[in-house]
Symmetry: C3
Subunit: 374 residues, 3 copies
């Protein structure tokens, strides 16, 4: 069967599917002149091949599964998901390898399905990333419990002096209420730095990814450990969805006061066409248009609004605050093609990058994406 | 169906095919002793894995298509074609992503099908490359019109300070005249440098790719923009083909006189076996032997002769001139396997690399390639 | 048919199969305190994505075959096998491309099937690697003769100043004696350094790969050439196998005395379950459990013991000696999944890394691997 690419099945539980995605971005960012550090040179109009991934996934007899996604950039390469899984029973699945440490609804939703080209700023600011680890997931009825122990991302652990480990857990309760779904969740995270990894840094791009400039940025901080708490809520009902998350990150710093940074977002979305928002397993999924371009229809069209913030000012650290209000228009002409336009206005305060010496100013961003996946 | 690799089709227009190619080169370059900059150390016998690509291409219902080719070197990686396409009507196809900006007959012909191991020197000298952009192609009868707007190659645009853009267009008129095809074409290109990209460089290897030494080389020039004009002509008739291109590149340089560099080539080829040169859509295509090794035959054998030149001397820039006369023997035992031997003699004048202080001398190159693709 | 991944066949000899493997390691190394060069910081507990490979292999009408394996790390990429092959007759196969230069039983056995997470120390110490070259293999009855000419690894030859070449040959005699197989083999290797490659280095990790610390290490030596001789012996009989290899490496050094380094190993293994050790074509192959997890069985379980040594002290070079005794437990729940635990105790003498100034000490290593391949 074709699921973007052909999926092959064999007797006894064999399964195999090629995987791939291409995301092409263009956009522009308009900021006040006089940004410190020649910041203006890094804004303006920009284009980007945001992601080009190829890989494989499959299953083997006995409940064994695997996935490998290779991400290729202009001259770089990295691994995204790269794991082996095992269905240890009706309710329990184990997963060993490079994977996301249960970072929350928005981050666990594949970057193919997010409502804006980029996730909310806290996602980047708090360093969400895949890590090498062993995890377990228990699913029963409306409840999902996830937990794991992790070392660090593959790039960091390629140094044998890195001695980082973390424990991460998440609980989701997602009852069906009539034809709607309520999503309530929370997660806790503890990461201990060690060995040659004795510092951390928190920063975020302004709405779009095409620039590498971060207006809010704590700089590199000496750190011992990070403790995070997150709360999630969502309501999914036919064409409509609303979701919100809030996060707290306490950074333990040697010899000085701890800092606690916060961030979060609230989002609403509505499908203008007769289509349905897709949610299952504690994350948002692929919206498949009922009347695609291939059937003479126009596909699915969704509008979304999001407000997100990140606050990197605490305990003597002045990393700045960034709030962004955004609107997006998503067009899904056929199931595996997605076009997205979004606009965001950001307000920064106490920013690490100043405008003519002033740390408080506003910027406007307009971005587009064309995406295909299989 | 097998097209090198299996191609899978599904109802409604689904299509999927893995892609790959391996090109293995060996060769030797014989130059006078006393090359400046220890140049002789970089010549002599050399081997190279010229290209190893893997990727996917496919199509989706509604006229959507895609291709991703990942090129892997000894320790490097890059993206070749990486685009999404859309058939917007009977005559028009749009293409968004990393692609060739309509650089001409020889460059647009896949590197799997070129008559020599390397394209003519002007191809390298004038920096032909894939760029991120949006293009449209109109085809009707014997006419092809192509045009697009592009930013830069993926490696350059990974810097957010790069602000380069180009417009590129090409027209081809290719009428059938009896059993033959005439190809007439022309293209125009304008590229504006900007942001942190304020310079350019024009240089070319001598005939083979195994060395990184360039005998002709302008060095890095401060530059504002590049304007290129190209003319193409070809005649394809059964076993025979002849083709020629000529190009002019005007480099606009801030505060000094512009420089105009030129280059081109003329080529003739003839199939010794009862096979047919393949041409369609404004480029050369795969020659499929009528009597392959698998059918007890010997496959297709082609001889080619080419003369190419590049002139990098103008407006105070002394980058040198290089002319090369080459002969090649191509053997295609079966459709997707290709063996190629070629010899070239190059004459350089005012070369950037001198031989005992003299900028005029000759060199001989002998190269071989084994290639498989799917 | 599914062979891990689906294998596709077409009329006339077409064949195509995706390839992949993931190896996930965790382990710990316990050494005396006071290692020189802050060596202790690089030991202790470590995790690693040891290998993530994706690729393709296939065949074409006329006896042509190919394979491309791309190895992806945290932020790096390289090519493993990348070759074109041709069956030149009933007994002879030619292979052109990146391949192993017939380095011996253990090294030619795929890293998917080795009895321990890492091969014996001599494998790393003597720099076994794939190289670009042309090889031929003659097989007839119980005899295999292999030989080839090679340049260097792809990373080295990307520099056009590298002028290295080698000739490598191996002979195997492997008669069936009843239901058992005897394996006798030997190989000889000559590598001449040249151009910008004028030095060599011999060193090895202690048992596990998670650290990059090498206790034994000659440092960089000026060198002209390397001559290697290797002897191989093995006995494979149902559940049981024993194998041993011994190697001598003479390093020719300009202006000083030559150094001859040695290394080798002896290994025995036994399958606790009713399964059979797999051997063919002069190497060990995949053990396929008779009663896999998918059939309600527990898969195959194998215990192995190995003693290996490497001696890098000769001719004025004091690189140290390392001996390791190891035990491993291999569990193969289903054919393409493999779990491995191994423990090793190493003794080093005259080590390059000293413990409180003493070059003689012992270390303990415990490692685990989870592996899936297709």
């Amino acid at each position: 069967a074709f699921k973007g690419a052909p999926e092959f099945s064999g007797e006894g539980g064999w399964r195999f599917k090629p995987r791939g995605r291409v995301q092409l971005d263009a956009g522009g960012i308009n900021a006040p002149s006089g940004l410190s550090g020649s910041g203006n040179d890094r804004l303006g109009v920009g284009t980007e091949l945001r992601r080009a991934w190829i890989g494989f996934e499959g299953a083997m007899p006995g409940g064994v599964g695997y996935r490998v996604d290779v991400s290729v950039g202009g001259s770089s390469v990295s691994l995204a998901d790269a794991f082996v899984s095992y269905k240890a029973g009706r309710h329990v699945t184990l997963k060993l390898g490079n994977q996301k440490p249960f970072t929350g609804l928005e981050d666990l939703t594949a970057n193919l399905y997010t409502s804006f080209t980029e996730r909310s700023a806290v996602s980047e600011a708090f360093g969400f990333e895949r890590r090498l680890g062993l995890s377990a997931q228990y699913t029963s009825g409306d409840v999902i419990v996830q937990g794991g122990v992790f070392s660090d991302n593959l790039s960091t652990i390629s140094a044998d002096t890195a001695k980082v480990w973390s424990v991460d857990g998440r609980v989701v309760f997602a009852p069906k209420l009539g034809s709607s779904t309520l999503h309530l969740g929370g997660s806790a995270h503890y990461k201990e730095l060690g060995g040659s990894v004795v510092s951390s840094r928190y920063r975020a791009r302004p709405f779009l990814h095409s620039t590498d400039l971060r207006l809010v940025d704590t700089g590199t901080l000496a750190a011992d450990s990070e403790t995070q708490l997150m709360l999630e809520g969502a309501w999914i009902s036919g064409r409509f969805h609303a979701s919100a998350e809030s996060r707290w990150m306490k950074v333990s710093r040697p010899g000085v006061a701890n800092s606690t940074f916060t961030g979060g977002y609230g989002e609403v979305g509505y499908l203008l066409t007769d289509d349905t928002t897709a949610y299952s397993g504690g994350v948002f999924k692929r919206i498949k248009p009922r009347h695609g371009l291939d059937k003479g229809g126009m596909g699915a069209v969704q509008v979304n609004a999001r407000y997100d913030w990140v606050d990197l000012v605490d305990g003597g650290i002045m990393g700045g605050r960034q709030k962004t209000a955004g609107l997006s228009l998503v067009w899904i002409p056929v199931s595996n093609l997605r076009l997205l336009v979004n606009y965001g206005h950001s307000w920064v305060d106490d920013a690490a990058v100043t405008a003519d010496g002033d740390g408080s100013y506003g910027i406007d961003s307009m971005g587009m994406r064309a995406q295909i996946d299989f």
